[in-house]
Symmetry: C2
Subunit: 156 residues, 2 copies
DNA sequence: CTAATTTTAGTGTCATAACACGTTAAATTA
DNA sequence: TAATTTAACGTGTTATGACACTAAAATTAG
């Protein structure tokens, strides 16, 4: 029980089962995040940049106001303005103003941005499928259910 | 299935079950990390700082060389030197040189550092127990096992 | 219909993180 | 034993993140 986690952290024991679960979530997340990050950096993207592009691709050819982008991110970043600035510099997204609500700064992914995502897609997919090699379908569903229980109480 | 995750990300569907699991790990991690971070900031600590202190407390009254600290961290930080610098400034840790291996820069937690951890401990504990309210003991073990399967293949 | 409040973005500043390089000491090899 | 390789740190630089503040537009309250 927990031998793999112990090896990772080079610890011999944990304070509680709850601590062990929490640590396992952190370590797994770090593990997958790092792998994901390595893939994206091959395409010149940081993880937050990739996430913004992914969100924008979902509504293409429409755009999203900044606030919407933040609320859809896995890890909401306070500094989306500058993330978009950098994506703009690479011409992966473009900005335009909403006519209905003049406060809104809309961002749309460009053709170039979509092409980049498409190019990276197989590798991202392969990474997600990496999980396949270790878990059965039933296990994946169980895992998802258990994780959702943890943060579910605070999702409205 | 996955309704909670869909709400969090304001998405209506996922590409695959594997993607869903990965996203769930990320979201759960973000959720717990943020809560953890909020607790630690009350005590003037960042998450990496807390982790370094926690590791050093484990070997007190001995110290650890920098490289050992990194390898025991949940999220190995490349910049541990400066993290330690800041902890030094607050007199929460102290440095000394190893006599056996003169390359090693050893760090030891101070009394003040231990006192700070002890003070924060109940709240950290409460946070870990937060998971208790949503999962049974059996579920916690299942969850830990499944998570370890994901990253286990690369732990030696 | 006006004034106060809320929402949304952007900017300036400071702290932190990431990355590459240089230095020293230990370990290994010739 | 000398030369080379490896390991461990620290530092300088650049990029990114966090946070507070400002401005503009929309919404709500009176």
């Amino acid at each position: 029980m927990g031998d793999i986690l112990k090896k990772w952290l080079k610890q011999t024991k944990f304070e509680s089962l709850d601590q062990e679960v929490a640590l396992n979530v952190f370590v797994t997340s770090y593990f997958l995040r790092t792998k994901h990050d390595e893939v994206m950096s091959k395409y010149g993207l940081t993880l937050p940049q990739y996430n913004v592009l992914r969100i924008l691709k979902g509504v293409y050819p429409n755009g999203h106001p900044r606030c919407d982008i933040i609320s859809r991110m896995i890890e909401p970043a306070p500094d989306v303005t500058r993330i978009i600035d950098r994506l703009m510099k690479d011409k992966l997204v473009e900005r335009f103003n909403s006519t209905e609500d003049k406060r809104l700064s809309m961002t749309r992914i460009t053709e170039k941005g979509i092409k980049l995502l498409d190019k990276a897609h197989p590798e991202v997919h392969a990474l997600e499928n990496y999980i396949s090699s270790t878990l059965s379908n039933t296990e994946k569903k169980t895992l998802s259910d258990l994780l959702e229980k943890i943060y579910g109480s605070e999702v409205k």
